[in-house]
C-alpha cells in the first residue's frame, strides 16, 4: 500500500506566529488516521495546511501530486473534502443547496450521491428545503458531513467532529465514518479531542505537541503507550 497523503517537513504560520514546525506524516489509502494532541498543538492547522487554507511551506503530496502550492479550491477539486471545525455549513442556504455545493466539483447529476447520503441521514431528505441555519448544532454537523460525502472525496479531513455534540450523536457520527471507510474505502484524516473515541475508530494516529509530531503509531500502539494513556485517555 502506498500513502495517499504524505506530509514532509510542513511548516505553517498565521502572520508572525509559527504554528507548525516541520510536521511529517503519512495517511495510507483506505485508512482512518487520527491526529491527537493538546490545544494549540497544531492539529487544526495540519488539516488546513493540507486543504490550503493556511500559508504553508514544505512538501505535501496527495495521490502523487504536489499540493503545497495549490489553493483550497484546487485541492478540493483533486478530491479532498475538508469539514472544518465549527461545521462550516452555509447557514443562509437550504439543506439541498448545501448538499448541491458538496457535489460542486462533480460533473453531471449528483442524484446517486444524494440517495446514498439519504440512506445514512434519512431526515435530510425530508428537510431539504429548510434553511441550514435553522438546524440544530448536531444536525448542522451531520449536514456538513453529508455534504462532504456528496463530494465523494478520496480523502476526508474531519476537524473536531465531536465538538458540541451529544455523546449519542458523536458515536453515531463515528459509526458512519467507519462504515464509509469499510464499505467504500474512504480515507479519513481526523482531528479529535476525544482520544478514546478517535483511537477506537482509527487505524493509526499521530500525537502532536507544540507544532511537532511527538509520537506516531498504530492505534493499538498508541493505546498501549503510557504517556498517551496518561495525557489523553485518562487512565
Amino acid at each position: 500500500m502506498t500513502a495517499l497523503l504524505e506530509l514532509e517537513d510542513v511548516e505553517a504560520r498565521y502572520g508572525p506566529v509559527h504554528v507548525l514546525h516541520g510536521i511529517s506524516l503519512a495517511v495510507e489509502e483506505g485508512s482512518v488516521v487520527a491526529v491527537l494532541g493538546p490545544n494549540g498543538a497544531g492539529k487544526t492547522t495540519t488539516l488546513r495546511a493540507v486543504s490550503g487554507t493556511v500559508r504553508r511551506a514544505g512538501r505535501i503530496r496527495f495521490a502523487g501530486r504536489a499540493l503545497d502550492r495549490l489553493g483550497p479550491a484546487a485541492v478540493a477539486r483533486l478530491g479532498v473534502a475538508h469539514v472544518p471545525e465549527g461545521r462550516g455549513t452555509f447557514s443562509e442556504l437550504t439543506v439541498w443547496e448545501n448538499l448541491r455545493l458538496g457535489g460542486y466539483t462533480r460533473r453531471g447529476s449528483i442524484q446517486p450521491e444524494l440517495e446514498r447520503v439519504f440512506t445514512y441521514f434519512p431526515w435530510l431528505s425530508e428537510r431539504r428545503r429548510q434553511q441550514a441555519g435553522t438546524l440544530s448544532g448536531g444536525e448542522q454537523q451531520m449536514l456538513a458531513l453529508a455534504r462532504a460525502f456528496v463530494h465523494r472525496p478520496r480523502l476526508l479531513l474531519l476537524d473536531e467532529p465531536s465538538l458540541g455534540l451529544a455523546p449519542v450523536l458523536v458515536a453515531e457520527l463515528f459509526r458512519i465514518v467507519r462504515e464509509l471507510n469499510e464499505d467504500e474505502g474512504l480515507t479519513v484524516l481526523v482531528v479529535e479531542q476525544n482520544a478514546h473515541l478517535a483511537l477506537q475508530a482509527a487505524d493509526a494516529g499521530y500525537v502532536l505537541e507544540a507544532g511537532r509530531v511527538a509520537l506516531a503509531g498504530t492505534s493499538a500502539e498508541l493505546r498501549a503507550d503510557d504517556s498517551v494513556r496518561r495525557s489523553y485517555l485518562g487512565y
Binding site: 478540493a76 443562509e92 440544530s136 448542522q140
Partner: protein, 332 residues
C-alpha cells in the same frame, strides 16, 4: 448553539416583517391603481414612473450584486453603464441594428465588468472601505475621461428601440417607449434572478459571496465567482444605460449620474444586501419621484436628486437595513 438560536430569531423577525412590508407595497399599488383609474395624467405618469423606476432598479440591482459579492460599493457603476451605452451607439453607427448592438454591448459589458474586478478590485478588496471606494472613484474619473476622449462631449442620438407609436388603453394614450423599457429591464432582471436561483453556477456565486472560505473548501473558485458577479452587474448596468438613453432622448457623458443617485437611494431603500429590495426600491423611487414632481408644487424637477438624497438619508437613519434587509451587523 447561539448562532443557531440567533438565526432562528432572525428568520422569525423577517417572517413577521415581510407582511408589514408587503402590506405597504399593496397599499402603494392600490393607490396607484385607483389614481390611474381616476386621472389619465396620473395613469401616464405612473407608467412612466414604473419604466424609469425599472431602470433605477436595474442599476440598483447591479450595485447590490457587487456589494454582496465583494462588499464594495461601486461608485463607477453608473459611468460603466454610460460607457457601454456609448459602445452601443458606436456599434449602431457601424451599421448594426439596435437589437444586435444591444446584444453585443451586453457581452462587452460582461467582459469589461469581469476584467475590472480582476485587475482593479481584487488587489484592494480586503484592504479598507476607503481604499476600495477610492479605486471605484478613480474608475469613475477614468471612464469619464475615456468616453470624453473617444467620443467627445457633444450630444449623440440613438434610434428609438420601440418606435414612436402610442397605445390607447381605456382612453389613456401611452407611448410604446415606457412599457418597452419596463419589459426589457424586467426580462433582464428575471434572467439574472433565474441564473442565481436555478443554476449550479448561480448557487456557487451565492455561496462565494456569502461564505468565501467554505466555498473554496467545496471546490468553488471564489475569485472567479466574484469576477463573474461583477460581470453580471455590468450587464445589468448596461441594460439600465441603454434603457435610460431613450427616456432622455439624448446620449451624453452625464447620462447616468443622477440615475446613480436614484439607484443608491433604491438600493438603500430595499436594503443594500437584498436583490429583490433593490428592484422594488427602484420602482418605488421612480414612481414617487415622477408623481411628486407633478403634484407637489414646491418640488420641481430640479429637486429630484435632493429628494432622492433625502430618501436615502431618511432610510439610513430610520431603518438602516432597508425594507427587505434581514440583518445589519455593525462591526465596531
Amino acid at each position: 448553539m447561539v448562532a443557531a438560536a440567533t438565526s432562528r430569531l432572525e428568520s422569525l423577525c423577517s417572517r413577521t416583517a415581510v407582511p408589514a412590508t408587503s402590506l405597504l407595497l399593496l397599499a402603494g399599488a392600490t393607490g396607484l391603481l385607483v389614481g390611474s383609474l381616476r386621472s389619465s395624467i396620473f395613469a401616464q405618469l405612473t407608467v412612466q414612473g414604473l419604466a424609469l423606476g425599472s431602470v433605477y432598479g436595474s442599476l440598483a440591482l447591479a450595485l447590490v450584486l457587487v456589494y454582496r459579492a465583494t462588499h464594495v460599493v461601486n461608485f463607477a457603476q453608473g459611468e460603466l453603464a454610460m460607457a457601454t451605452t456609448y459602445v452601443a451607439w458606436q456599434l449602431i453607427q457601424w451599421g448594426l441594428s439596435y437589437w444586435e448592438a444591444f446584444a453585443v454591448t451586453l457581452a462587452i459589458a460582461f467582459v469589461l465588468g469581469t476584467v475590472l474586478q480582476v485587475v482593479l478590485i481584487r488587489p484592494v478588496q480586503h484592504r479598507s472601505v476607503i481604499a476600495a471606494v477610492i479605486v471605484t472613484v478613480g474608475l469613475f474619473i477614468l471612464i469619464d475621461g475615456v468616453v470624453d476622449w473617444v467620443w467627445g462631449s457633444a450630444l449623440k442620438f440613438m434610434p428609438s428601440p420601440f418606435g414612436t407609436k402610442t397605445y390607447d388603453v381605456g382612453g389613456v394614450s401611452i407611448s410604446r417607449l415606457y412599457p418597452g423599457m419596463f419589459l426589457v429591464v424586467l426580462a433582464s432582471v428575471l434572467l439574472v434572478w433565474a441564473l442565481f436561483r436555478f443554476t449550479k453556477l448561480g448557487l456557487a456565486m451565492r455561496a462565494a459571496a456569502l461564505r468565501p472560505a467554505e466555498s473554496a473548501l467545496v471546490g468553488v473558485r471564489v475569485d472567479w465567482m466574484l469576477a463573474i458577479g461583477w460581470g453580471l452587474a455590468a450587464v445589468l448596468g448596461a441594460v439600465a444605460g441603454l434603457m435610460a438613453e431613450p427616456s432622455q432622448f439624448v446620449l451624453q457623458p452625464t447620462l447616468m449620474q443622477p440615475i446613480l443617485v436614484y439607484a443608491f437611494a433604491a438600493a438603500v431603500l430595499g436594503g443594500l444586501e437584498s436583490p429583490a429590495g433593490a428592484v422594488i426600491g427602484g420602482l418605488a423611487i421612480g414612481v414617487s419621484l415622477t408623481l411628486v414632481v407633478q403634484y407637489v408644487h414646491p418640488i420641481t424637477s430640479d429637486l429630484q436628486t435632493p429628494v432622492a438624497f433625502a430618501v436615502l438619508v431618511g432610510v439610513l437613519l430610520l431603518k438602516p437595513s432597508g425594507l427587505f434587509g434581514q440583518r445589519e451587523v455593525r462591526r465596531v
